[in-house]
Symmetry: C2
Subunit: 505 residues, 2 copies
């Protein structure tokens, strides 16, 4: 019962099938925007919980800033850019009136407002009021919010006009403090991806032409999707004094001198869910890592005769209650009894499509035998994916399996990533040939035809046009540099810098 489209058959269509069959999100009547449905939003809530805890452990506090940014805040930025034009939602009127039977925007604003595409400018404006002395630093804040970028080719989770994210913004007394913060938060994102999303990532610095506008340095984590493309999973920006100067975030340092603060910003978004799908889903549908699964265990009653119902439900309730005391990952197991008025086989397939980590169908045979049939979504269709467990062993086995599935999913994705970083391509000719055959999905455990290439880059600005023409990008300059001599894979010039080349989302 595979999906209408498979990864090998039509990867983009397969992605849409997964999202829709797992009932995670849908396109809305509001153009370019998505509705995040309970299963998708539940995953986002789990991601939020894990990350919010890490953000607070690292001494950040949550705030909320306005989503409307006065147009004048963009003026300075625009003056430095030739042919400035940005796709953003602009509020120009503040009343809706009926005129000649037609609803019409009315009451034009003196100054148009931009719906935040990101909040550096409006937050720096607040920081400038908060910071007077070195004693007021660091300021370490975060907000969970919606943002808008006027995408022309929207795609659920990956690229929609409105999306949800968190954005951290900090101000520091010194260059080094701010730079350390930037790297620290990138590390937090890496942990989030690897521990919670079971998604290995490559960490590094963006090349000059891929930096966030106004940043001194942009750091990023990059994940590999099953079609060999890269997905930027999170970014962390060291902004130096650029935004502090523009917004006048200045303070008296401990020597009594007036100075500008050093700021950072960092964010991850609902795009991560798109990354989880393309890392873990298979041809049967979604597979959710247990740590971020809204339910880790789903109990499906199988009632063949109405008179069995009471006994089966009592047995299931006992199982549920036992499970609720267990604490893998330091949290209670999230368990759902699916009581809906539907055939149990349909329920099984629904939860399979949704990728619930463990599904147990429970009927009179289990009650009588004091046992439970445990099915693991990750091993669907294999003999090991379907095991009979005694009632007394149930709680222990579930608790272990929840943790083991998480590890297995990470290991599988890590193996794929390792297998698919080519490091043996040495010349621009071979490099070009390699990327000509694109958009292949990677079969599990095998090396795909097109994935990432790790190789040299000379760093010349002129290489940007070669990248564009080849439709590839430099994903990052990895932290672990080899410091060897070699040839730039784009120009053939001598180069020492290692970079990751890939196609990307």
């Amino acid at each position: 019962m595979t999906l209408k489209n498979t990864r090998a058959g039509n990867y983009p269509e397969w992605y849409q099938n997964v999202v829709s069959e797992a009932d995670m999100a849908e396109n809305s009547s509001s153009p370019g925007c998505m509705v995040i449905k309970p299963w998708g939003y539940g995953i986002w809530e789990r991601i939020q919980n894990v990350l919010d805890e890490k953000i607070k452990e690292t001494d950040h506090e949550n705030c909320y800033f306005p989503m409307f940014i006065p147009l004048s805040f963009f003026q300075k930025e625009a003056e430095h850019v030739d042919g400035f034009a940005k796709e953003m939602a602009i509020v120009t009127h503040s009343r809706l009136s009926m005129k000649d039977g037609k609803l019409t925007p009315d009451s034009e604003l003196d100054e148009p407002l931009i719906v935040r595409p990101t909040s550096e400018a409006i937050i720096a404006d607040s920081f400038s009021k908060w910071v007077k002395s070195y004693r007021d630093l660091p300021v370490l804040i975060n907000q969970w919010a919606n943002v808008v970028r006027w995408e022309m080719r929207p795609r659920l989770f990956l690229r929609t006009r409105e999306f949800l994210w968190q954005e951290g913004h900090t101000a520091h007394a010194t260059h080094d403090d701010a730079e350390q913060e930037t790297i620290k938060m990138l590390e937090v994102y890496k942990q989030l991806c690897e521990e919670a999303l079971a998604t290995p990532v490559l960490a590094g610095r963006k090349p000059e032409h891929e930096k966030f506008p106004g940043a001194i340095d942009t750091y990023c984590i990059e994940a590999m999707m099953q079609d060999g493309k890269a997905l930027q999973a999170g970014t962390s920006h060291f902004l130096g004094q650029n935004f502090a100067k523009a917004a006048n975030i200045s303070f008296v340092n401990n020597k009594g001198q007036q100075e500008f603060a050093y700021t950072t910003s960092w964010g991850v978004s609902t795009r991560l869910i798109g990354g989880v799908i393309m890392t873990h889903a298979d041809d049967e549908g979604m597979v959710v890592p247990p740590r971020i699964a809204p339910y880790q265990v789903v109990l499906v009653p199988v009632i063949k005769k109405p008179e069995d119902a009471e006994q089966v439900m009592a047995y299931i309730t006992r199982l549920q209650n036992e499970l609720k005391t267990q604490l893998p990952f330091g949290e209670k197991i999230r368990v759902k009894i699916d009581k809906r008025d539907k055939a149990s086989v349909d329920k099984f397939w629904e939860w399979t499509r949704k990728g619930a980590p463990i599904i147990c169908e429970i009927g009179m045979r289990d009650v009588e035998g004091n046992k439970v049939m445990v099915k693991e979504r990750l091993k669907l269709g294999t003999p090991e994916g379907k095991q009979i467990v005694a009632f007394d062993d149930f709680v222990t086995t579930i608790s272990e399996r929840v943790e083991n599935i998480q590890k297995a999913m990470f290991n599988k994705a890590q193996e794929r990533l390792k297998q698919n970083i080519r490091t043996d391509i040495a010349t621009p000719e071979d490099f070009r040939k390699y990327f000509e055959n694109s958009n292949q999905w990677i079969e599990d455990g095998k090396q795909g035809k097109v994935a990432f290439v790790r190789g040299k880059w000379c760093g010349d600005p002129e290489t940007e046009s070669i990248l564009k023409e080849m439709k590839i990008t430099i994903r990052c300059i990895p932290f672990d540099q080899s410091n060897t001599e070699g040839k730039c894979l784009l120009t053939g010039k001598p180069a020492t810098m290692d970079v990751i080349y890939a196609r990307s989302y």
Copy 2:
């Protein structure tokens, strides 16, 4: 050290002083919008946690819907309203371009988009796709989101152009199911206010002219502020089939017939924080109920000689660790050590202004005496508000105090509410005289000059103009009706309906 303004002196200015001295929120450079700062946002997070748990316990799931609503969605609504005009933010352009050195909105949209003032219309549109059969019902969803209403006289937390809220939206197969849901969620809000915000509320139904547009019935909870004015703390709407008909949410019922669903919606917002302030704050600043306090206990080191620092900090860390195991309200105690480089007396006053429930200043004398000085914010300045406790009793006493302060705050507010509902006003003349003397704050335990009046209302539509002229409102038709005969306090006509009259926010 009272605030610049007191409740008796200038109540509206006192309110602004509390918000600003507690560092809860500030006005933003984005006109009419607020920045919610960490202490204010931390309170909102606690409110969210308590309410979100209740929303999920009652089987609702969280989703996220687009914030942009196409203008055409309002057309139907507008056609039924004479002189329709609504203050709403309208997006008309999707690009910001530089033209002649000036940033200009560009790329006009075919159809303007409204930033959601509430989401009934866009959510009903989704429901119409989700619901086909009675088996798909009920649909029980909620979203946490920002909404925009173009307020002309903004006031922090109470009335800002953008604010945060949750909005529940449900669809049901029958009239009774939907009506029960409406009442159930009102009860959830009442519990939230009474248990977590320590704020007693009156529950009832809104009169016809105060209903949500499109609702069959609007139910509400109303709280009494210390100036005797009412604050609507939450509403729950029974929408009948009105929205279902407009958006075509129809289904095949269990008899095979096509039918329209019955829907509800219900919401509370960051306005609740304004209510908490005006219920609990005093002339020294904010007082936060422990259940929603970001920190319930603040430990302030008092270090007179540098050589004592190590011992004092070690002692405080021991206290903190002991506290972390305690679980009043089923959660761990939230404790903060204030390590900032500031005088301890300034720290004490900062936390007093913020209204942290318990503040302990700890120095060498405490270390040597193996004791702790425990100060309760609620009893500031009284002998009982300041007690020395042995180290071994510390954890128990804090755990008890946290729960007792919560109860004491609720009792105090409930006593005030009880004392200030006049039920002895019998004629329109006395009623008018009573409300002529307005805007008084209520001294604790004493009956204020102007508060609520419970009395009869004839229900005639013409009374609306009398209410307007008197600048009062009917807050609700309470559920506990006396069913006695009497005279309408507005017209003198015979009436049986009891209502609550009050000035309001």
